[in-house]
């Protein structure tokens, strides 16, 4: 134990010696320099209150610019004056002058005209008006003929389909005076044609003049003038003072698709014996927007009269 104590003391002595050596090798600390005297910060002076500078509201400046486009036409007359002199060096002087020249307005001088008679073939003019059209279906047209000739004429007019079928016929009773007009006939189509079909219809007028000439004019709605002389005899007008319009139905095709119960029909009203005794019930929309039922109708009325029509009664 005593040897240990001596040993520790020796170590401590060596350590102290080493520490002293280390301290002797360090640099000396710098000399302390006293701080300069404190200078106080200048007293804070508040800034002056901000007063907003009044700001001028910019006014939109619309500049009106008128653009005047003026076209000035000047007639420039170039005059070339060539002066020949006896001098050894002839000179040519070119003088340009711009002289506006007013253009005189030409006033037509009224001339005396002598009315020449219209050629007979050009003297007839038709007019065709569609009076009632529902959708594409044309129900009614009016048509007439104007006689621009200097003669009295007798006329017969027909409406024909494109295939030549006569739809309606009108006939003048007496003479149509010069510059007179025949019509206006009103034709209601039983089978309503379409507008397109009407445009293809032909209005054929056979015109007999006082000079015993016969003219046939074939008009369409789009072409109101087309007349030729013909040698065919003209229908004799009746003595009645009125103009008649006679509707002629289209020839009926063979009823090949006709069902047996209605195959045989006599002229005039026929009592139907072969139809089924009971009518088929139906519900159809009517023109007022409601639905009509046959059975419902028969509960309110004793009879229902069903009229199948084709565009017009």
């Amino acid at each position: 134990m005593a040897s240990q104590t001596r040993y520790l003391g020796l170590i401590l002595l060596v350590f102290v010696a080493l520490a002293g050596t280390a301290c002797s090798n360090r640099e000396p600390l710098p000399t302390l320099v006293p701080l300069s005297t404190y200078t106080p910060v200048p007293t804070y002076t508040p800034l002056p209150t901000y007063t907003p500078v009044p700001r001028a509201i910019p006014v939109m400046d619309v500049q009106k610019k008128e653009v005047v486009e003026k076209i000035v036409v000047h007639t420039v007359v170039h005059t070339l004056v060539v002066t020949a002199t006896s001098s050894p060096t002839p000179t040519a002087t070119l003088t340009l002058t711009a002289t506006p020249i007013s253009i005189p307005i030409i006033t037509p001088i009224p001339t005396l005209t002598m009315e020449s008679p219209i050629p007979l073939l050009e003297a007839f003019e038709a007019r065709i008006d569609i009076v009632l059209q529902v959708g594409a279906a044309v129900h009614n047209v009016t048509w007439n003929l104007k006689n621009n000739s200097q003669q009295k004429v007798k006329v017969v007019g027909e409406i024909r389909r494109a295939n030549g079928t006569i739809i309606a016929r009108a006939e003048s009773s007496g003479f149509v005076d010069p510059n007179g007009e025949i019509g206006s006939f009103s034709t209601t189509f039983i089978t309503t044609p379409t507008h397109e079909e009407v445009m293809a219809f032909q209005w054929v007028w056979t015109i007999q003049t006082q000079t015993s000439q016969t003219i046939v004019c074939t008009f369409t709605k789009a072409n109101p003038k087309s007349c030729v002389y013909t040698s065919t005899s003209t229908p004799t007008p009746t003595a009645e003072p009125e103009v008649k319009v006679i509707l002629e139905p289209t020839p009926v095709r063979a009823a090949t698709a006709r069902p047996a119960p209605t195959a045989v029909l006599a002229k005039g009203v026929q009592k139907q014996d072969t139809l089924p005794p009971t009518a088929a019930d139906f519900e159809l929309a009517d023109s007022s927007g409601s639905t009509v039922s046959l059975s419902k109708t028969l509960s309110d009325s004793h009879f229902a009269v069903l009229v199948f029509y084709r565009g017009h009664f």
Partner: protein, 100 residues
Amino acid sequence: MELQQIYTDFQVLDAEIFGISMDSISETTILARTLGLTYKLLSDPNGKVAKEYGVFNLLGDGVAAPSVFIVGPSRVIEWSYVGRNIGDRPSSEDIIARLK
């Protein structure tokens, strides 16, 4: 128009008139309004009813032949007339006579 003029005669006989065509409902409406019809116009655009009554395309033109049917109580067909051409139809007086 003819039917319209004596429509009251039909009403007196307790009969209701229905005009049936294959026109569209809009065309039917315009026609009724234009002609001032007070009886009903029915639209049968596909011809269904015309076929059921055996009058469709009888004239070969794809629509119903002009025809008249008087239908009585219990939907019994009292009388009918089918036109042979487009202008063949009974007069209103004929129809009235059949109702009496």
